[in-house]
């Protein structure tokens, strides 16, 4: 009961702050590409607040913030990047609003890859994110947990490192590579063109999606309200529908 009331209150404050004051300018929200589907859906849930969405790799968006091209809100596919930005004094405290699992994504109908261990087979081609972007860094994390020989075998199969998750996914759907390490949500967003193969839990870093208010925003109240709105039940439902997991209690 209390939870519901809180969320209603949060929602109310979001709308009030969004409509009040001088916030006629749309709220600029930069988001990791991997969050595109749910974030676009969530922004449509609250039509009274104009939100301008921009999607790119989390790392590129972080660089943009460092170079002074600042949105009001930054939604990252990893917790690490906003933590660094916070340490540099560029953003506020990160709020984890969802988690994501990593999977091996293959084209629907692919038969030569049936399990994670098939990635070591020679002749298999793989797409990873570039090391600087979360989806690529997570893939490297997974390889780091594997025995050296297996990691080397997989690494030898990596034929391209792409600048963001969407670009990685496209390499699989276009048949350029056989498989990729992607977010479960990317497979969810592919309209059935991709199929997910589970990565064993002991290897799988549960990734955290975090939102931050960018310091220096003209609309700090609206920005904070937007971030709180991500935790509202209907937002969480949109995230769940897109293949994300809710944040855990400790986040």
């Amino acid at each position: 009961m209390t939870g519901l009331r809180t969320s209603l209150l949060i929602g109310a404050s979001f709308f009030v702050s969004a409509c009040g004051g001088s916030a006629t300018h749309p709220l600029a929200v930069s988001s990791a590409t991997s969050l595109k589907v749910p974030v676009t859906g969530i922004s449509a849930l609250y039509p009274s607040t104009a939100v301008h969405l921009e999607f790119a790799g989390s790392d590129a968006l972080a660089t943009a913030i460092r170079s002074g091209r600042k949105p009001d809100v930054f939604l990252s596919a990893s917790l690490k990047i906003p933590k660094q930005l916070a340490a540099e004094g560029l953003v506020g405290k990160p709020v984890v609003f969802a988690r994501n699992r990593l999977v091996v994504a293959v084209r629907s109908g692919t038969t030569n890859i049936g399990s994670f261990s098939d990635l070591t087979k020679s002749g298999v081609s793989l797409a990873f994110g570039s090391p600087s972007v979360p989806i690529g860094a997570y893939a490297d994390t997974i390889l780091g947990k594997l025995p050296t020989a297996e990691a080397a075998a997989i690494r030898a199969n990596v034929k391209t490192r792409e600048p963001d998750a969407a670009s990685v996914a496209a390499k699989v759907t276009e048949g350029v590579v056989d498989a990729a390490i992607l977010y479960a949500s990317d497979v969810n967003a592919s309209n059935g063109r991709l199929r997910a193969i589970t990565i064993p839990a002991f290897l799988n870093p549960l990734t955290k999606c975090a939102a931050v208010v960018v310091n220096g925003t003209k609309y700090p109240v609206a920005a904070a309200a937007f971030i709180r709105s991500l935790l509202l039940p209907q937002s969480q439902q949109a995230l769940r529908a897109a293949g994300f997991l809710p944040p855990s209690r400790g986040d």
Binding site: T63, S132, T160, R161, S167, E174, V176
Partner: protein
Amino acid sequence: MTSRRLTSAAMWAALTVSFAFVTIPIVAILTANSPAALLDQLSDPAAVDALLLSLECSVIALVLVVGLGTPTAWLLATRRFRGRSLAITVIELPLVLPPAVAGLGLLAAFGPLGWLGGAEDAVGIRLVLETAGVVVALVFVSAPFHIRQAQAAFEAMNPGLRDAARTIGLNDAAVFMKVAVPTVAPALAAGATLAWARALGEFGATLMFAGSLRGVTQTAPLAIYEGFGSNLAGAQALAAVLVAASAVLLVTTRLLTRRWEASGA
């Protein structure tokens, strides 16, 4: 008098704004790092790999563009055939296509699931994820720059020279090789240089079609984009090299064009 002066002042102001608009970002890139830091960034093996790959791919693409594009331009300039203007439009289309569209098109044509994917498998050719795929992307986006210029040069060539060449017994192919190409050589070189500059800067089509892997498909622009997220100084150093190379190529184009115009052929 006053209004004429005002107009003139406004024009000079416009020139100043245009000049500053382009100059400031370029100077900013070149001065983002001290010369020592720049050299240090460029000695990074990944940067060296990217620059060497860019050089290799763009030179191979240039050879293909000149080798195929020059005879193409000659036919377009000298023959009248059904579908000629359609052919010209199609060949020039990559000039105005977004690189992402070029990338999609190349994938749809030459990708593993594309039209010719099966044929490529059959003969053992693979373009995606390979250096050859980078070359294909570069040829696709840069060829029109050369073909357009070459066609214009051949069209501007005194038609009497073709007549004269035929009277000394040269057939059409020999007229092309022995008379037309030497006559418009500076214009051809200018077109080739422009195509080269475009190839050096290619990003979107390369990424979508060939991918991005250090030493194989990651050209300098792709390395710049990757560096943007993780190593800004390194990206700026690579960018400075591309700025310098582009400037050299552009000046070369201008000099060649001037020489061509002075030759009056």
